[in-house]
Symmetry: C2
Subunit: 195 residues, 2 copies
DNA sequence: TACAGCCGTACGTGATAACGTACAAACGTA
DNA sequence: TACGTTTGTACGTTATCACGTACGGCTGTA
């Protein structure tokens, strides 16, 4: 019977490396995680595919969330986007323009964009599409001017230098109530497909 | 026998919601993922805890990485860090100071920091601690001046407005070769514990 | 009213994940 | 050298995961 040769090895190696980095034996991790030592051994060597239940326990024993543990085997290298090579975002609303600063690669963890808002303008209308994918989270920094964040029908006033973090899958947009241009730097992290 | 009432429901609901959002039936997802429809049904209802193998397949059928799928059940709400409430980072090297812009909460996906580099200064020495946790990834935007990124012994020259993304668990630091202060905005995403 | 088609779920079976125990090798100490 | 301890792994058993099949409930069409 030709065993399917499933790609579970890298995770096993990762677990082993992390465990050893924390200077723990299999039995130490077993006690901390509530998973038996032999099971851990098998998982580390890729001889078995753990259940989400035990995988979660193992991650917990390593003081990690399972999502963090799994995320370790992705992406690579260095990627530069030159100032002049920034991708302009489509201008759908007058008074709002933006550029994408992070590289257009799949598997990015965070997308950086720089938004310019004219006085009185807003990013997207009241209840428009500018809602991000489920599970995504946004961090925004006001570089210049002042803006109002409207998130889930609540309003938050933000001045220059203020920084806000919120669930980006909620209905939200920024407004510029001032007399001058406002510049907002936005970091959207952990988005999904299916817009 | 009192079944353990394991907390696997939220993931199941998530899967169901995503599947329905993509307008797919259990059998559709079964074909796309290679997991049987009855299995999917049980997972969605939290009646069983899938193997990492099949969980990966399910995520694949939803066009997601498993880490992304799992990440959906964390965090919440809005969190503001006022300009004057920024936490100053410890100044260990002369000529380098920085502030933390993102909130000091656990479970953050991305940490935003703003670094000021005096002429000739560098963030951390040559091969010093400023290496982030395994698996973390960093996106840096040069706001002012020019800097040189040294990542894994390779050098990258960056001008104002340039943006770079790289694996932050590699040996790296920034240098300011210019005559004026340089300001770098850094986004570190997906870090782990255990520095 | 039928019938064809799909939906999600209950059932029974084989595969395997996860446990507890027991073992051989490596280490430190007396 | 001999012993106690700890390391990681092999073994056999039980729990449960994952499959294929089959069923009742809906929806739309003839």
């Amino acid at each position: 019977m030709a065993t399917v040769e499933q790609r579970t090895e890298p995770l096993g190696s990762r677990i082993k490396a992390l465990r050893e980095a924390m200077d723990m034996s299999l039995r130490d991790l077993a006690e901390r995680s509530g998973v038996s030592a032999p099971m851990l051994s098998q998982v580390e060597r890729g001889e078995t595919s753990p259940t989400l239940q035990v995988a979660t326990k193992i991650a917990g024993g390593l003081e990690l969330r399972l999502s963090q543990l799994l995320r370790l085997d992705e992406g690579d290298s260095v990627s530069i986007v030159r100032c002049e090579a920034r991708r302009k975002g489509p201008t759908t609303v007058t008074g709002h323009s933006y550029e994408l600063l992070s590289p257009p690669l799949p598997g990015q963890r965070a997308e950086l964009s720089r938004h310019t808002l004219a006085p009185g303008a807003a990013t997207g209308g009241a209840g428009d599409p500018p809602v991000h994918e489920p599970g995504s989270r946004e961090t925004a920094l006001v570089e210049a001017g002042a803006v109002t964040l409207v998130c889930d029908n609540e309003r938050f006033a933000l001045g220059t230098g203020d920084c806000v973090t919120f669930d980006a899958d909620l209905q939200h947009h920024f407004e510029n109530p001032g007399k001058e241009d406002a510049i907002v730097l936005a970091v959207v992290s952990a988005g999904l497909r299916r817009s």
